[in-house]
Amino acid sequence: MNETKQTARERINTLFCLAKENIRENPKLAQRYATIARRISMTAKVTLSTEQKHQICKHCKQFILPGVNCKFRTQQRREPHIVVTCLLCGGITRFPLRPRRKNKHDNTKRKT
């Protein structure tokens, strides 16, 4: 494991924790922490964890937390998925609920 990447990951985790603590009292500071965390991830080439990815709006890149400035809803149409609506920019992001199948032409289910 690369040393700089490890320190980068630690810093990102602490920044996300701080952002979560501050989002209610002073949201501006929380947004600042989130932007720093995102910049660190980009410079150190570290991917954010799925949980952290869901906490950043894909459209306006701001820190969002369900119950504060975004809403999470599940929908069954076409494919079960979560719809995240950012209340800051109004953008919609969808995350599939079922994990993606590894092999596209996997027919094991049909055979059995």
Binding site: E3, T4, T7, A8, E10, R11, T14, L15, L18, L29, R32, Y33, I36, R39, I40, M42, T43, A44
Partner: protein, 93 residues
Amino acid sequence: MKITPAIIQGEFIGLTAKVAQSMQQSNIGIKGKVVDETRNTFIIMCNHEKKTIAKDVSVFHFRMRDGTVVEINGKLLVGRPEDRVKKRIRRLW
């Protein structure tokens, strides 16, 4: 916690800091939580008041997350928080 030169790549936002030495006499002794960081300054919350302190003319005492107190020269900390991840220095001790 092991103290190595790699400490300057770490995160300082959220730690409690104290200005030990400074060219600016009035800044000496300011103590509080680090709220924000820019390329050349730290912003410290001291008695519900934001104080902006230049890095390169000060020496800081940081209380790390496990309780150890570390003295760091501010000259080593100059750089944007996202650029400091990649910053390397020669061994000093």
